[in-house]
Subunit: 194 residues, 2 copies
Amino acid sequence: MPLDAAALDQIFRAARTHNGFAGPITDDDLEAIYELMKWGPTSANSCPARFVFVRSAEAKARLRPALSPGNLDKTMAAPVTAIVAHDLEFYEQLPKLFPHTDARSWFAGKSDDHIRSNAFRGGTLQGAYFIIAARALGFDCGPMGGFDNAKVDASFFPDGKWKSNFLINLGHGDPARLYPRNPRLGFEEACRIV
Amino acid sequence: MPLDAAALDQIFRAARTHNGFAGPITDDDLEAIYELMKWGPTSANSCPARFVFVRSAEAKARLRPALSPGNLDKTMAAPVTAIVAHDLEFYEQLPKLFPHTDARSWFAGKSDDHIRSNAFRGGTLQGAYFIIAARALGFDCGPMGGFDNAKVDASFFPDGKWKSNFLINLGHGDPARLYPRNPRLGFEEACRIV
């Protein structure tokens, strides 16, 4: 059965990428979003995403030099900025997450490319689940790719195990600061039925 | 305002990766899922995902040799299998999709790595949106990474512009064929607040 129209609007059709936030988000809210999005599927239930919620002035100051000019002010002003990252040693969790077979051996000691592409794919899927889960719980997101990943990694993940993917500003969006919506590709442009 | 508990269950908490399907999905259903998921955000609205819905016996036969043994029978039996792909020339659509600046120049003629990582990230985000949109409309998904991407690409995308990412079996799931649910990482394992 489809969700009702208001729910479809909230998670997709009327949801927007926000540039300004008029309301806060608590630590309990962040945990609630994680506890919802965590159920989304990943390959072999590998769950490689890791989330660092940047809230304090000290941590925001560490993020600042990595941001592109267009993302700077809005990110400094956002209640929380999530660093969506992935753990290159995600496979160490597989004995717990996928216990019925030795899935760890599919990755441990294998090529860096194989490990990185699984971590990047799964972590990105989970980043998308996070955005939709936040919207489903009544929050707004401002996801961003415009930043220097290497600077974020050096500052937040100096041991090299976690790698940044993208950022999401989080809170209750201010509709007055939305930009006009851009178009999307039509079904016939993006899809084929064969 | 959060969605009601039944809606949160349907898109995340009670939704499962299905292995068998007891009901069909029409071409109009596939278009409805696309028309919902297309609103999900991507970097510079680049929308690099492309979806090939494999329904005919002829197309299923072309998919067959690329499938891993564990995914073979269930994929052959599924009403439709979506190939989630991405277009390495996605940037040619940017004058339409992100018209207020010359975003095409951020990619055209740049390094293959830069193009591929944006296409892979955006296409993966959109694959996740597709899964959640299908669930929101009352369908079930069986996403899979276990297949030979090179074989799928050679058979379905011989010009090399689109690249396969992952597969999703689609229909109305048969709850009798679900496996027990695997655990997820706790908030304190996957997240930090700084």
